[in-house]
Amino acid sequence: MKMLVVYQKLGLHRFLGHLDLQRAMQRALRRSGLPVCYSQGFNPHLLLSFAAPLSVGIQGEREVMELPLGEPVAEQDFLRRLNAALPEGLKALQARLLGDDAAPAMARLEAAVYTIVPREAAPELLAAVPGFLAQTAIPCLRKTKSGERMDDLRPLVYNLLVKQGALHAVLAISERGTARPDQLLASLAAFAGVAPPRCAITRAALLDGRMAPLEDP
């Protein structure tokens, strides 16, 4: 059996890199005394997988990780014991016991919901959204190992709304393609003819192919 855990990464904890977060979670699990599992081999490591790494500086409201368990633990017990070992900013919100045959969260992941709040009012940027979405293609410069290449962002932007001065975006995040919020911002700003504003970015949810929360398989 395995446990799917929904947790938050808020406040100052948004500054943790993905490796930092991994280490922090693994050590918290070790302190908790929960029946975790380890890999085989010479340098065994605690088995824990994250649905989607989150960039440094971005908050996460409902992030998802999964881990196999060596023996059964009730969901509420699991939550209580893990939270006793976690700092407030990384609090676990929900635990769901899944069968071993459940597809990994990482494989089910299809999209993520982002809230992008400009730190200073950006009316031109927000006003440009309808025209931006009406484009048939959105060129986007992407840095790769071998250099830079032009990608089309349009099919990866599932939805983009303006609500109360903030952008709400549903962006693809899967093996077939991923759009990052900073890429969206850069492209939108270029379209609007303004400099990309500084924003507070939060990932509000991770979605599966049904556009339903990943934690509800």
């Binding site: 890199g17 490796l19 050590r27 070790r30 605690l46 500086g57 730190r119 500084r198």
Partner: protein, 615 residues
């Protein structure tokens, strides 16, 4: 930090590299309330967060001070260049990780002096923290800037910067210094009065209470206290019972990976070997061990508080710890099935290596690290590194037989009396190590031989038998490095060396006097900081600083001293006497070794103090 400043800080954190270094809020961090009557101390580590969080001493002092109801201890480290510049540009003072208060708000700020090349970072941190760089310029409300650690044994280069130094172990004495500062402030005493009281604490040195007079030739003529409260000799502090000494039951757990990110158990302090180049070996005498029972208790508490995956044992000479095997067995037993590995650093090759290796089946295999320090037996005798080539090769052979494939060998270049033959001896020894590997049948040896030879540049240090010695000039070091580089062109061997300029400056700050304070201040003005990081090290600026301050660095680094020359650090009594060090110097030049003092007292001077050195 007010709201507005806090917002500017958040913006800055979004721009700098690895912001998790500057946020605090780690698991096990202690955030106490600031209130009247509680003395606020900030432990300042003059290097980056990753280095600082690897340092056991900081964690010990953090625990010792925070254990006091009437004190609090917070932490601050040297920000990386992007953050330092960002703080300055945003008008945010350097702040403590716990309560985000400016350094200037604390009652005392305490630096640990681990390395001479961190001195400009001290200035940068004071400057960013809103504290005047010179002690004499600090006002009544400014924090007391105190310092300790191994480099405090020659405090003089920082005489104009630091208000009070502590010599020796800090567990008890740091708290005593804070008691005096806290009480003095509550009584409303003036700064000068508090400094006089600090000078009365055993082991404390207040540089502004002393004056130096120099001879025409630049050597020291006299060093005398200006007031009667200042002792003519400052005797170092010693924690005689490590089981009773403070040791943290929890350590702030860094989010971003520290250089040494694991549980560290200090099994022993001090070393009886008497290697003649080694300052720590003299400074930390006498040898004191922690009992396995105490260590197991500490390991358990630290595991529960951190969840760390690894335990390492810390001491100057782990192989000499008398209870090593019981300790390793105890740790293995206790952590069986909990996935905690044990790493054993820098084992001396003549320790009970075989047994330990055999016993470490459940111990993480990290490769064998040996420090022969010199390439020939003659030179090893000069430096009293009581290790023979046979010992070394036996250890290597056993390691290869046990399935290890990597060996690291540490050497020094520029040791007193060194000839080209000694330098080439390093390569000859490396070749023999390689031969040991190929002597094993192919199916019995692990694949992928890796021998790493590292050669550092010798730095003569105070309180060693080589404190009289000259350091090789830069061009001579480069010539010897070239010689070795050519000779080490051996398959399977990697050679590491460093540009000698850093070692040259280390030599200046290791043995310089208070005339170096203006050099240091000038170097900081010229932009020097993070000097221990090659990408920031600016040798030309340093030469400029020496020149502007009218100090000749070659006179400090490259000059051999006369027997009776007065040294800037002579007033510090570390236990080992100057007479003993001179005898050792003479024995070195004759190539005579001195046995480990557990085999018979060598009369180093510690026995002048009752109870300090066990019979």
């Amino acid at each position: 930090m007010n709201r507005d400043m806090g917002q500017r800080l958040e913006m800055l954190l979004e721009e700098v590299q690895r912001p998790a270094r500057y946020t605090g809020g780690e698991v096990n961090a202690i955030k106490k309330e600031w209130r009247p009557g509680r003395t606020a101390f900030c432990f300042a580590f003059p290097d980056t967060y990753e280095v600082a969080m690897s340092h056991l001493g900081m964690k010990i002092i953090y625990e010792a001070v925070n254990a006091r109801e009437d004190m609090l201890c917070e932490r601050v480290m040297m920000p990386w260049a992007d953050m330092a510049d960002g703080l300055k540009a945003a008008g945010i003072p350097l702040y403590s990780l716990e309560s985000r208060r400016a350094l200037s708000e604390f009652d005392a700020v305490g630096f640990t002096l681990q390395y001479e090349m961190s001195y400009t970072n001290i200035l940068a941190m004071l400057d960013l923290g809103g504290i005047a760089l010179r002690g004499g310029q600090r006002g009544e409300r400014a924090p007391f800037v105190i310092a300790g650690g191994p480099c405090a044994a020659n405090p003089e280069p920082l005489a104009e910067v630091v208000d009070a130094f502590l010599m020796g172990d800090g567990e008890t004495a740091t708290v005593q210094m804070l008691e005096v500062i806290g009480a003095g402030r509550r009584e409303g005493l003036r700064r000068e009065r508090i400094l006089l009281r600090l000078a009365g604490i055993p082991g404390v040195y207040v540089p502004s209470l002393y004056e130096s007079v120099w001879h025409e030739d630049g050597t020291l003529a006299a060093f005398t206290p200006k007031v009667e409260e200042a002792p003519a000799r400052v005797v170092k502090r010693v924690e005689t019972d490590l089981d009773a000494a403070c040791f943290p039951a929890a350590m702030p757990l860094p989010y971003t990976e520290a250089v040494h990110d694991r549980i560290v158990l200090e099994i022993m302090r001090g070393c009886t070997r008497g290697c003649r180049f080694c300052q720590a070996g003299m400074l930390y005498r006498p040898v004191r061990e922690r009992s396995p029972g105490k260590l197991l208790e500490q390991a358990q508490a630290l595991f529960e508080a951190t969840g760390y995956e690894e335990i390492s044992l810390s001491s100057l000479s782990t192989g000499d710890y008398s209870q090593l095997l019981p300790l390793i067995r105890g740790l293995n037993e206790r952590f069986e099935g909990r996935r905690v590995s044990l790493s054993l650093p820098s084992l001396r090759v003549d320790g009970p290596l075989q047994e330990v290796l055999a016993d470490s089946g459940r111990v993480k295999k990290s490769g064998l690290t040996l420090a022969p320090e010199a390439g020939t037996q003659r030179l090893r005798d000069v430096i009293n590194k009581g290790v023979t080539e046979e010992d070394l090769l036996r250890a290597v052979r056993e390691a290869f037989e046990a399935g290890w494939n990597s060996v690291k060998l540490y050497f020094m270049i520029g040791l007193p009396t060194e000839t080209d033959e000694d330098v080439l001896g390093v390569a000859a020894l490396a070749r023999k190590v390689v031969d040991c590997y190929y002597a094993l049948p192919r199916e019995k040896r692990a694949r992928g031989l890796k021998v790493v030879v590292s050669a550092s540049t010798f730095v003569p240090k105070p309180f060693t038998p080589f404190q009289w010695a000259a350091q090789d000039r830069l061009e001579e070091i480069r010539r010897k490095q070239g010689l070795l580089r050519n000779a080490l062109n051996i398959r399977g061997v990697t050679f590491n060396w460093h540009d000698p300029e850093t070692s040259f400056l280390e030599a200046c700050f290791a043995r310089g006097g208070r005339e170096l304070s203006p050099v240091l201040l000038r170097a900081y003005e010229l932009g020097c900081r993070l000097d221990g990081w090659s990408e920031h090290f600016n040798f030309q600026a340093w030469l400029q600083a020496f020149s502007d301050a009218g100090v000749d660095p070659a006179f400090i680094a490259h000059r051999a001293r006369e027997k009776d020359e007065r040294f800037p650090w002579d007033f510090v009594d570390i236990g080992v006497t100057r007479g003993y060090l001179w005898l050792e110097n003479e024995r070195a030049l004759r190539g005579q070794t001195t046995p480990d003092c557990r085999e018979g007292c060598g009369h180093c001077g510690l026995r002048r103090f009752e109870g300090m050195c066990p019979e």
